[in-house]
């Protein structure tokens, strides 16, 4: 028996491998996307090994070195990018900040993706009143400017990093729900789904095992774009004082406390924002590349 099955699964493996290679072929056509991927991989490494890379403790306050300029513009040699208003090493805080930004992006996307897929599957599969209720609630979320909604949710939940992530995930929910619903409705009456149903597959099996895998491509692209939205949104909340709380080395929060020093110490403002920009840009580059590689319409042209 096993000898009969083996070739089949091997064939499935090679076809999966071939699909992956085809994907990589299209993805690597875009230099921007590859650059984004390299930068993003570096960020992941920095985040993983932050305690070993960072020259100082991110919350250690060096009392004798307030607002020290970066080493390259006449500051102390042990603080490469200078120190902040309470004497903490900015470089070390930025390195640890990478952990928070990637964590924020990952948690928000997982929450929004999971919630959106469940709601979208239910709405697209059952239609009727389930669909109407779910989609009207999604419309409602979209009726509020997302930052205002996130602010109000954080006001209810209380400021803090996890609540900020939760609030942003809710504002991103409709995008995943709409996308999943549309894809499910397009797939639902295809022959393979009908035959699975005739074979006696349950509702849950039909939704999750049969239909969902064929709706994944647009969801992956959307998840990438939302990853960067989440980082920007959480940084904005941190900047307004309602996201991560000091002394957490979150990039947006670092900017909030640096605002009063823009005249005296521009480096305190410059570097955290630059980190946010580079991270978001890298992820958006990957997102653009993924969209081009996964969109069959663009492939032909």
């Amino acid at each position: 028996m096993t000898t009969e099955i083996a070739p089949v699964s091997a064939a499935a493996n090679t076809s999966r491998f071939a699909a992956l290679r085809e994907f990589w072929h299209y993805f690597s056509q875009s230099r921007g996307a590859v650059l984004g991927l390299i930068v993003f991989s570096l960020l992941v490494l920095i985040a993983l090994f932050a305690p070993w890379i960072a020259p100082h403790d991110p919350i250690e306050q060096y009392k004798e070195f307030f607002l020290e300029p970066p080493a390259f513009s006449g500051g102390q040699p042990q603080f490469w990018l200078g120190t902040d208003p309470v004497g903490r090493d900015i470089l070390s805080r930025l390195i640890h900040g990478a952990r928070f930004s990637l964590l924020i992006g990952a948690v928000v996307v997982v929450l929004a993706l999971a919630g959106g897929i469940i709601l979208g599957l239910l709405a697209g599969y059952f239609r009727g009143w389930v669909d109407v209720v779910i989609m009207r609630v999604m419309d409602l979320i979209l009726a509020f400017p997302y930052l205002l909604l996130a602010l109000v949710l954080v006001t209810i939940l209380g400021p803090g990093l996890f609540n900020a992530m939760f609030a942003i995930a809710i504002t991103l929910l409709p995008f995943f729900a709409r996308l999943t619903r549309g894809a499910v409705m397009a797939e639902k009456n295809r022959e393979y789904v009908v035959s699975a149903r005739l074979a006696g597959a349950s509702h849950i099996r039909l939704m999750v095992v049969t239909i969902l895998p064929n709706c994944l491509a647009p969801l992956i692209v959307q998840a990438t774009l939302c990853f960067s939205d989440a980082i920007l949104g959480a940084a904005a909340l941190g900047f307004l004082g309602l996201g991560a709380q000091p002394p957490t080395p979150e990039w947006g929060t670092m900017l909030a406390s640096a605002r009063e020093f823009i005249q005296r110490a521009p480096w305190v403002v410059t570097f955290p924002g630059l980190c946010i920009l580079v991270t978001v840009l890298a992820i958006n580059l990957i997102g653009d590349g993924l969209r081009d590689a996964l969109d069959p319409k663009l492939k032909r042209s």
Binding site: L140, P145, L255, L281
Partner: protein, 336 residues
């Protein structure tokens, strides 16, 4: 067309009800006692507490509270600010023009720059011009605008001294608002120095707020143009020997702009969200800064009614854009 209108309006009703339910629930979901939160007081005597409870109608069942709330809204009563004790609507109407002025300037800047950039990139597809423009657009699209605003302040205000750091107009100019738009009001009074002062205060916030919509519009225009340029009627126009500028301007652009119009409509919510950050950075006296300040001050009456009114404004603008879109593009009317 009438059927389209009715369909579209029917879709608005559940959202409208949903928005009021959200605003109604907001106060009741706050941590702590909603009655104390609304009164803005702590440690009141039990008698005063009962008095407040009746005053805010919290002694009645929830559904009755909700219908009372709807009644208040329909009468135009949005409560009064806890911190200033002035009616919400008076304050809202005083601050709203500032946000509209800033948002309008930003969307105009985004259109005037973004659409030509998109067309230019599309007509130079694949060249270094295209790559440079679209690379820049992606940077703009990825921009944390609160940081971008601070950078511009460091460069143009504190280093070069060209523009003021914050505010809406120099303090020595004061006049009674007519439209509430500083630039227009100063012109109506014939006060040129005030006009230029208002303009100098307006320029940096406008650039900051326009950055993301501008990038979105440039990217959207480029891809819409590229899609249209491959269509048969454009090939026909080209084959007829029309000049490239005529092909692009007359045949391609008109059809490419249809999806772009929708994008502009969708940017209204983005703009109001961006206004929260932009107004906070530049101390621009508008609705966005007011909302953030009210959250800091726990002025929950303002937050509740602001949430309601901003959502209504966004919804109304989206509705108008949808209807305009159907007027421009007959295909939409037939589909629905």
């Amino acid at each position: 067309m009438l059927r389209f209108l009715l369909n579209r309006l029917a879709l608005v009703v559940p959202t409208l009800i949903g928005i009021t339910i959200c605003a109604f629930s907001f106060v009741r979901l706050l941590p702590g006692d909603p009655i104390l939160a609304l009164a803005g007081q702590h440690g009141v005597t039990p008698e005063r507490y009962e008095q407040l409870k009746i005053q805010f109608g919290f002694d009645k069942p929830l559904w009755q509270q909700y219908f009372n709330y709807i009644g208040e809204i329909l009468r135009g009563d949005f409560g009064e600010s806890i911190s200033t004790h002035r009616p919400f609507m008076t304050e809202f109407m005083a601050l709203f023009p500032a946000t509209v002025e800033l948002s309008l300037c930003a969307i105009i800047l985004a259109m005037v720059v973004g659409i030509p950039v998109g067309i230019w990139a599309a007509t130079r597809r694949g060249t270094w011009i295209d790559q440079g423009l679209m690379g820049t657009a992606l940077v703009g699209y990825s921009m944390p605008i609160f940081w971008w605003g601070l950078l511009l302040i460091i460069l143009f205000s504190t280093t070069l001294g060209w523009t003021p750091v914050s505010g809406r107009i120099a303090l020595n100019f004061f006049f009674k608002p007519i439209t509430g738009f500083m630039t227009i009001d100063s012109l109506l009074y014939g006060n040129w120095p005030a006009f230029f002062s208002a303009l100098r205060y307006l320029i940096l916030p406008t650039i900051v707020l326009a950055t993301i919509p501008l990038a979105v519009l440039a990217r959207q225009t480029r891809s819409a143009m590229l899609e249209v340029m491959g269509e048969d009627y454009v090939r026909t126009a080209r084959a007829k020997g029309l000049s490239p500028s005529r092909v692009v301007g007359l045949h391609a652009l008109r059809n490419a702009l249809i999806p772009v119009v929708t994008t502009i409509g969708l940017q209204v919510g983005v703009l109001l969200g961006g206004a929260i950050l932009t107004e906070t950075i530049f101390a621009w006296p508008g609705i966005g800064k007011w909302m953030v300040d009210s959250i800091y001050k726990r002025d929950y009456v303002v937050v509740q009614s602001g949430l309601l009114l901003i959502a209504l404004v966004v919804m109304a603008v989206n509705l108008i854009v949808d209807i305009l879109y159907a007027v421009i593009n007959p295909r939409i009317r037939v589909q629905t």
